[in-house]
Symmetry: C2
């Protein structure tokens, strides 16, 4: 039978990403397309210990329904970390646990965007956020970036043009897909523009803790003068993405309504996982664990950049991330990225083409490579294969 | 600051339920308002054992991202159970794991309902489903019930009046809030009407396995001639609601699109909990565990009905559920249920008034009481207190 889906459902013929990931799943292919953390760094033993203690001491409570806003202990631990590590002024009533950052994005969009409302995003940006905004009928406007992330002068001009805009979606640290980071002065400007134009900033910070070089920068939320900024983060990159848990930090009035909407979405996030992560945080040094992740990712990113610099043809540019999981590559000469992707696949190597990350005009020849889940051999050999493919395309 | 929320956000001044649950949380009050399973029946030890084995054998995989459609082993176990216990013709491609039934309802509504579209529901019905339908702008039409659940003749008339209806939402087993069950002949009729009018049936079956008397009845999905029925269930009532996991069984074309929408909602459901429940199901007799739940709930429901029959004033009616967690009470004489609620609270006992369960016209003097999470003393004393309050109200 044929289903008459609502307007929120996308046209599946455009599922480029699904097709790419399918090809990239071929075991003969070295795939830089994914975005997975390194599983060998997951603290399996410590998590098992924490789980055992939860079952021993709080088994019945952890298996029962809980409040939509989340486990009180976990919310308090997150609140402390937001104060000490992010210099965000907040109390526990500003924190709501979510079923990962994807749910944070989905619920905020559902709460703020009527069909036709304007949402401003970095160009390029996280493709699943674009899917969410589209599903609620947003008019998505891209704001140009440079090596320092979103251009705030362009943002100001865009707000002048669309003063009715509802949301600004930004990933200020090691952005997905570009790996770029926004400096402090731009962050302060974004916070002030949000207040001036009465627009909500969705500050998505899944990678912020995975900074392996340079100095930490306070989040946009730190500069928030009056509650226009919603900060989002997740345990996916610092602990384990399989336990689907993230959080938002926002004005209490916003959190109160967010909780109502979350109740309609999934009642609450997995309570057992909330108990286990809270226990883990109480008895382990999370900062020490994160340092291990930083060290490994730094080594992998450095190696990948070295290989790119040595092996890719002249004229190819790349970003120089100070953290996170991704490098952005720009091949000159107006090359069709899907053709380049297909040539790479012939050489048994894959990436994610730039196209799906762009809300509107696509810059050709751009793509994202992931280094977090790749060992040294894969990085060396994969970049070698890509270099051959790019060379072929550039000299066609 | 004031947030300009989208039209999907409800008017919080109407949060009757939140207020009721707040009052009902007072420790001096015996509250029949909740809908919690009995936590002393949670298989904590066996779940701990399963969790340890998952950490030992599949730790890294269980903590990593997984496919949006869900863990393959869990999907296969669910598929087997749907075949053997529910007589649903399906294969593993018809099964998608969800973050609980609430997410199943939310995503199906998001996929099917454009603003203004007609959704048919039992009158009264699960109040959080009403919240979801409203959030997507549905025009909700209530269909009358009798002791055998939704009246299918009325359903046929309603479909004749609204042939463009998009969804029929029904809870055929031990319905929430009424505890009523729809017999087989009505189920077959619903399936055929859905096909005839090209409308999708959302068959919500969280309680179906908790049948403690009478004979099991095949689900509507069993009678589905051509894919118009989506069956939904959950581990919340048979294992543990804290591990937020449910599933849908639907036409493959529907599942394929559902997975795309789920990806935008939370990427996937908690992977660790999926691994643990799959392991639990492989090494324990789930049917034997469910039988224990049935025995306890049967005893509690029987006691509550006996107490109601003995203590409530003449003329008060109640449903006689053959399973589930709820009894529906109807007090005669056009009594205002909120006044009755307040009188009960003065007597330190609480329930959920009927109002929020009705999509449109409210039948006064109706309310829901829960027995699954109550011990014998609470049932005896709570019903005694309610009897006094009802008597006061009826003789005012």
């Amino acid at each position: 039978m044929d289903f008459q889906f609502s307007k929120r459902v996308p046209n599946l013929n455009n599922d480029v990403v699904g097709e790419i990931l399918k090809v990239a799943g071929d075991p003969d292919i070295i795939s830089f397309a994914g975005g997975l953390p390194a599983p060998e760094l997951f603290p399996v033993k410590q998590m098992q210990k924490a789980a055992n203690e939860v079952f021993e001491h709080d088994g019945q409570d952890a298996l029962q329904y809980t409040a939509s806003i989340g486990n009180p202990k976990l919310r308090s631990l997150v609140k402390n970390r937001m104060q000490t590590h992010k210099h965000i002024s907040c109390d526990v009533n500003n924190v709501c646990i979510t079923t990962g950052s994807e749910q944070s994005i989905d619920l905020i969009a559902k709460m703020m965007v009527n069909p036709g409302d304007v949402v401003l995003v970095e160009k390029p940006t996280y493709l699943c956020a674009l899917d969410v905004f589209r599903s609620y009928g947003a008019k998505i406007i891209g704001v140009d970036m440079d090596d320092d992330g979103m251009k705030v002068d362009t943002l100001a001009d865009t707000l002048e043009k669309y003063p009715e805009a509802k949301l600004i979606y930004t990933i200020p640290n090691f952005q997905n897909p570009t790996g770029r980071t926004m400096p402090a002065n731009r962050r302060e400007k974004v916070a002030n523009l949000a207040s001036q134009y009465d627009v909500i900033v969705m500050e998505d910070d899944p990678y912020g803790e995975i900074r392996y070089s340079g100095k930490a920068i306070n989040p946009i939320k730190h500069f928030d003068p009056d509650g226009h900024v919603i900060y989002m983060s997740t345990f996916s990159k610092i602990l384990a993405p399989g336990m689907r848990l993230g959080w938002i930090v926002a004005d209490k009035k916003f959190v109160d309504m967010f909780v109502v909407m979350k109740q309609s979405a999934d009642l609450h996030s997995d309570n057992l996982s909330q108990y286990i992560i809270a226990r883990f945080m109480e008895e382990n040094d999370l900062d020490a664990h994160i340092q291990k992740i930083r060290d490994v990712y730094y080594s992998r990113a450095s190696m990948m950049i070295k290989e790119i610099d040595e092996q890719f043809p002249k004229g190819v540019k790349h970003s120089n991330p100070e953290g996170g999981m991704f490098i952005w590559v720009e091949v000159p000469g107006n090359i069709n990225t899907m053709d380049l992707f297909n040539t790479c696949v012939e050489h048994n190597v894959a990436f994610v083409p730039g196209e799906p990350f762009y809300p509107d005009d696509v810059i050709p020849g751009t793509f994202r490579v992931n280094f977090s889940n790749m060992n040294d051999n894969q990085i060396h050999e994969g970049i070698r294969r890509m270099a051959v493919a790019i060379d072929e395309m550039m000299n066609k």
